[in-house]
């Protein structure tokens, strides 16, 4: 039984409906594009404003001279150096710990209630407000362990706060290594650790690196956790060791924009620009590395 040939009117009606649907679809597409742009464009305008207002003050001199005249003139060198101190020490603590934790979760842990609790703890560690981390750092490291307000106490606080970033990204890159690689290695008689050390880690190392760079960026911008644990508003000298206080770029921005009178307009903009420049540079580096790796992947 052949179907009756469709009448011309019916075919025309269908194509008219298609045209109408296409139009509606286009409309929706544009609507959602507008929403996306409304989210992104204001921020780009704001960043542009920062560059216009602070860009003129940025120079090599600004980065490498001390603030003078009650922080109303001069550069940001001690704050920049302090941030480098804090971030390096925090990384030194959290990277080995985070990688080890990720190795446990990816290579050893089985999928049971205990692993779920660990995952929940990681999510929570990332979700606890930064000011609560600051209270913890003050109670635990500054007072209980007696480190005082110092680079060490601040870095420990930062390290714990950003630990989830390392764990999550490392775990992802470890799990991206195909399971067959491990099986091949076990069949050769290698122990679990030998397999991890010789096969899994070398194949995941660049993925881990992107996570670490991301953590540098996060740690650089944090302000609240270091306010009471080790960062000072102003110090006339540079820190000599990990038990000294230090200035930090993020706190410096807060201080020059709210606490110091008679600051020239451009100065806080310039400090914000240096901070945001560091953070975005690190993030772009991490994204570029990730894209490069995706292109390189052999399996």
């Amino acid at each position: 039984m052949l179907k009756e040939p469709q009448s011309a009117e019916f075919l025309f009606a269908i194509s008219a409906l298609n045209v109408k649907n296409k139009k509606i679809q286009k409309l929706y597409s544009i609507l959602f594009l507008m929403m996306t742009l409304l989210l992104i464009l204001p921020v780009l305008v704001i960043l542009g404003t920062l560059i216009v207002k602070g860009g003129s003050m940025i120079s090599i001199d600004f980065l490498f001279t001390d603030p003078i005249n009650g922080m109303t003139e001069g550069g940001v060198f001690p704050a920049l150096l302090g941030t480098v101190w804090l971030v390096s020490l925090a990384l030194f603590i959290s990277v080995p710990l985070g990688i080890a934790a990720a190795i446990y979760l990816s290579e050893y842990a089985s999928d049971n209630w205990f692993t779920r609790i660990i995952n929940l703890a990681i999510i929570n560690l990332a979700g606890v407000p930064s000011i609560v981390h600051a209270l913890f750092g003050l109670g635990a490291f500054v007072m209980f362990f007696g480190f005082g307000t110092s680079i060490l106490a601040a870095s420990l606080t930062l390290a714990i706060m950003t630990l989830p970033v390392v764990i999550v990204s490392t775990r992802e890159s470890l799990q991206a290594v195909p399971h067959a690689f491990r099986e091949a290695c076990w069949n050769m008689g290698a122990t679990r650790w030998q397999t991890i050390r010789r096969v899994v880690l070398p194949n995941a190392v660049s993925g881990i690196l992107t996570g670490v760079i991301l953590e540098v960026s996060r740690t650089t911008g944090e302000t609240a956790p270091i306010m009471f644990t080790g960062a000072a508003f102003f110090l006339p000298f540079l820190p000599q060791g990990i038990f000294d206080q230090t200035m930090a770029l993020s706190l410096h921005l807060f201080v020059v924009s709210t606490q110091v009178p008679n600051v020239p307009d451009a100065l806080p903009y310039a400090v914000a620009l240096v901070l945001i420049g560091m953070v975005l540079l690190m993030n772009s580096l991490s994204i570029a590395l990730r894209m490069y790796l995706r292109g390189q992947k052999k399996w």
């Binding site: 679809q25 929706y28 992104i40 190795i103 030998q194 901070l275």
Partner: protein
């Protein structure tokens, strides 16, 4: 029988792999296990240390009606300090509420566009852009509120102060939106393509596919994204400290200055003497914040996990 046993022992010796590598392997296993549970230890540690410092107030000076019923926050009054947190809670709630009002529709819209409408290079660029926006530090957002939004609001709405619920809400909304966008986008992407294909085969248009098929399937993931956004807004410190105006006040309109719970700790902790009542009160706000975010994160996790198990 005895011979059999001894040969078993010999076999055991033969297959005994306990050389130095074996012991090293066990050692490594122990080290990574301890590192693995460090996250649990830290979360418990945070709760314990913050509670120990704030406990004195909770057990002695704490009165439920004062703390949650009074709007008078006068901790530095020497004769009769008052610790009513109603205004602080109202401040946090109003700013977070406005921020979500802005962030939820736009971040969901952006996630739908990136996951369902955009293609190829455009999608890549948008995702990178969203990721970069999420990286801007909160103190920079606070500074933006203080120096760019403040004069803008004063000029546009002709109001005397620009540091207000409106300012902080917009700042916090812009801040939370990129993170919510990427989580929501992940949730949309987790919906299997065969759902979309099935709907399209039935003659649904792109929007019908999204509205009738993809969104219901991704519902839980999207809810998780919203909850995490609420948690972020709730716990944000530096941006609200700088953009709210920081005056204790139950807001009557979006142009009123307020003060948030987090910002109160950040602003006052430096001035208090260790162990004083004011100091303990600030730590007990910390306990409160910890518990609230703990519940929000737990709920978000349970909801998102529900999606995966389906």
């Amino acid at each position: 029988m005895a011979r059999l046993e001894s040969s078993n022992a010999q076999m055991d010796d033969l297959f005994d792999k306990r050389n130095i590598d074996w012991y090293f392997d066990k050692l490594v296993k122990m080290i990574v296990f301890i590192s693995g549970i460090s996250a649990i230890i830290f979360v418990i540690g945070i709760f314990v240390f913050v509670t120990i410092e704030g406990m004195g107030f909770l057990f002695e000076g704490f009165s439920f009606t004062e703390v949650f019923g009074s709007e008078y926050w006068e901790p530095s009054d020497e004769d009769a300090p008052e610790y009513g947190m109603l205004a602080l809670i109202a401040g946090t709630a109003s700013v977070t509420g406005l921020a979500m009002l802005i962030a939820i529709p736009f971040s969901l819209g952006a996630a739908i566009y990136i996951a369902e409408f955009s293609t190829g290079k455009t999608r890549e660029y948008l995702k990178v852009l969203v990721e970069l926006l999420a990286a801007i530090p909160s103190v920079v957002w606070g500074f933006i509120g203080l120096s760019i939004m403040n004069p803008l609001i004063i000029e546009t709405f002709d109001v005397p102060v620009g540091l207000s619920v409106l300012n902080a809400g917009i700042i916090l909304g812009l801040m939370a939106a990129p993170i919510m966008t990427s989580i929501a986008e992940d949730a949309l992407k987790a919906v299997p393509d065969r759902y979309r294909e099935a709907a399209e085969a039935l003659g649904a248009t792109r929007w019908q596919v999204i509205y009738k098929t993809v969104l219901p399937a991704a519902k839980n993931g999207l809810l998780g994204a919203i909850l995490l956004g609420v948690g972020r807004g709730f716990g944000e410190t530096m941006a609200v400290l700088m953009a709210t105006g920081h005056s204790v006040n139950i807001p009557g309109s979006v142009f009123d200055s307020v003060r948030a719970l987090t910002a109160t700790i950040a602003a006052e902790l430096g001035e208090t003497a260790v162990g004083s009542e004011h100091y303990q009160v600030l730590f007990s706000i910390g306990i409160f914040l910890f518990l609230i975010t703990f519940i929000i994160n737990l709920t978000a996790d349970l909801i998102v996990r529900g999606v995966r198990n389906q």
